[in-house]
Symmetry: C2
Subunit: 194 residues, 2 copies
């Protein structure tokens, strides 16, 4: 009675994103998505290649969106200011799109070219932001890894309610970033102190 509803991949991903952001990536199933779209689940195969493919597409969409927002916020800034803006943008994305953020973490296939590339774009943005910071070569790579760890760790713990104390998390975040910057400078300008 009603073939041709007019679905396409973007519409699918939009609906899947809503499910992921509101109920978690686990809740994104072909059954739940089909129900939300008012179609039968086998019909989804006209647009995607099964559940793993759907989640992969979500991860791609998430990475693109993240890279986009990061570069937009960092643009025109430099030094500490750029790092602060970068960190804030990263946190904001994770809070605004918890489901997409979750999807990004599920990068299984290391040989997936497109996913690698999309992830690379985000990492490149970190590298650009941290560049011109007086760090060269290996030291720069270590610093980039450190800030990625810091950001991802905070975001993950916050999302899963890992921080018990009722102390303002935004303050923690700000302080954490400043501590990191202070540490980088201390390490750069000399050895360890007491």
């Amino acid at each position: 009675m009603s073939p041709r509803i007019g679905l396409d991949l973007p519409a699918l991903l939009h609906a899947a994103t809503e499910i992921a952001d509101s109920q978690g990536i686990e809740a994104v199933t072909l059954a739940s998505l089909a129900q939300k779209l008012q179609i039968r689940s086998p019909s989804l195969y006209n647009h995607i290649n099964g559940l793993p493919d759907l989640r992969r597409q979500l991860a791609l969409r998430g990475l693109e969106l993240l890279a986009d927002q990061l570069s937009r916020e960092v643009e025109g800034r430099s030094g500490d200011d750029a790092v602060r803006a970068f960190c804030a943008a990263y946190l904001n994305f994770a809070r605004a799109h918890p489901g997409l953020y979750e999807a990004i973490q599920r990068a299984p296939e290391p040989e997936d070219k497109l996913l690698q590339q999309a992830g690379g774009a985000v990492v490149d943005q970190v590298i650009r932001t941290m560049a011109g910071y007086g760090l060269e070569g290996d030291a720069a790579i270590h610093a980039v890894r450190a800030i990625r760890s810091l950001l991802h760790g905070f975001v993950s713990l916050e999302r899963q309610g890992g921080f018990g104390m009722p102390l303002d998390l935004d303050v923690t975040f700000q302080l954490m970033v400043e501590t990191f910057l202070a540490g980088v400078k201390a390490m750069r300008d000399g050895g360890a102190s007491t």
Copy 2:
């Protein structure tokens, strides 16, 4: 022909841990566990209360083991040395038990008393380790949150292969911890520098 094989909860969790550590927490299903134990999956209900309960038990087991190893390594140390030992022990646990570590992160029910308590034991260990560091009140809480973020972020990114460059990860980890310590001292002993 063969009821009474002699299974009990510890044996179950041991087998489930092996699956989780070798194939990931996703691979821990009642079907896979039953197959490994040579029984039919409904028989598992004599020991556990379904799949969610099994994963919860795994998380509990993981938290206990982690708290145990952390306190063992930190014992007798203090100051920077204690922090370094703590971080190393945390990393070692995550590497040795990737499946258990994964299980820990899946803490869904915030009202689960036992899980809260087990998680609290780990956090308390962080607090004890960071204590006597010249940080008081809120500052101490922020510092604890920061180091948890750092450790969890690094461990997660490493596990999912998030670090692309073929640069020694152990070096990054060491450096990261030292940078954190330097940052904490810089923040404690004065404001921001240039």
